[in-house]
């Protein structure tokens, strides 16, 4: 099979599908809050990811941010992470896994109507520090935890 032709066909097909759905306004997530920050998610260094997403790599460690992860993750493909804070005016919550090939895992843009809680599961390539960064009232606060991974989750 000619694999180039196949990927070409697939690309043109999905490409046109996106164009059609954008044109007709069918695209589900509306762009009210922010577009997907490509540079930040694609960057391979923590610094670039933080710069790209938040405009700075400096944040203040703050006890008001609770970051819950397991201390030891047997399986790096599924590591539960919960970020909570009582700080007022929270704008974004982001989670970085410092040793991953792409450190930025998830970033949530919150409106005034959402509570500052985010729970999800992430992959960790190996034992790594996990950093939660919360933007509240224009300032950045963070919490860091080390998760020990006994079986990696990022393939290879």
């Amino acid at each position: 099979m000619n694999s180039q032709r196949r990927s070409f066909m697939r690309n043109t097909f999905t490409g046109s599908l996106v164009a059609v759905s954008v044109a007709s306004g069918l695209l589900t997530p509306s762009r009210v809050l922010a577009a997907w920050p490509k540079a930040a998610f694609d960057s391979t260094s923590v610094k670039d990811a933080m710069m790209g997403l938040l405009g700075t790599e400096k944040f203040e460690e703050n006890a008001a941010i609770s970051l819950r992860t397991p201390d030891i993750a047997e399986n790096g493909t599924v590591v539960p992470v919960t970020v909570k804070t009582k700080l007022p005016n929270v704008e974004t919550i982001s989670v970085f896994a410092l040793e991953n090939a792409r450190p930025l895992a998830i970033s949530a843009d919150l409106s005034a109507k959402s509570r500052a809680v985010l729970a999800t599961r992430i992959k960790l390539g190996k034992t790594s520090k996990v950093v939660a960064v919360v933007k509240a009232g224009g300032k950045l606060f963070g919490a860091t935890k080390t998760v020990k991974v006994t079986l990696g989750g990022c393939g290879g």
Partner: protein
């Protein structure tokens, strides 16, 4: 029948609602190689998840490849009461999408 793409449950608490969702998606990183052919498996992952409460956007979640397969999300929405509608939709890097509406219970 198409496979279910997401499962959402919203439950009312005092003054807010807890939303729990599982999005069924492979979340392929684009860094893995296939064991049989040795070729890189192309990336396929969810980029954006939008959460609406009664048609008002309350949250926009951007994801990267480090989110686990079949992502689980739990978030909380203020001023939501029993019977309100919560809509969740996702969009992936290839333009595939899915969305669903649930009533808060």
């Amino acid at each position: 029948m198409a496979k279910k793409k997401l499962k959402v449950r919203a439950s009312a608490k005092k003054g807010y609602a807890v939303i729990k969702a599982i999005l069924f998606h492979p979340m392929e990183t684009g860094l893995r190689k296939s064991k049989e052919t040795g070729e890189v498996i192309p990336a396929k992952y969810i980029k954006e998840v939008s959460i609406k409460h009664n048609d008002e956007q309350v949250m926009m979640i951007n994801m990267g490849i480090a989110v686990s397969k079949n992502p689980y999300l739990s978030v909380e929405v203020k001023d939501a009461v029993k019977g309100d509608t919560i809509s969740i939709g996702w969009l992936d890097n290839e333009g595939d999408e899915a969305s669903t509406d649930v009533k808060i219970r």
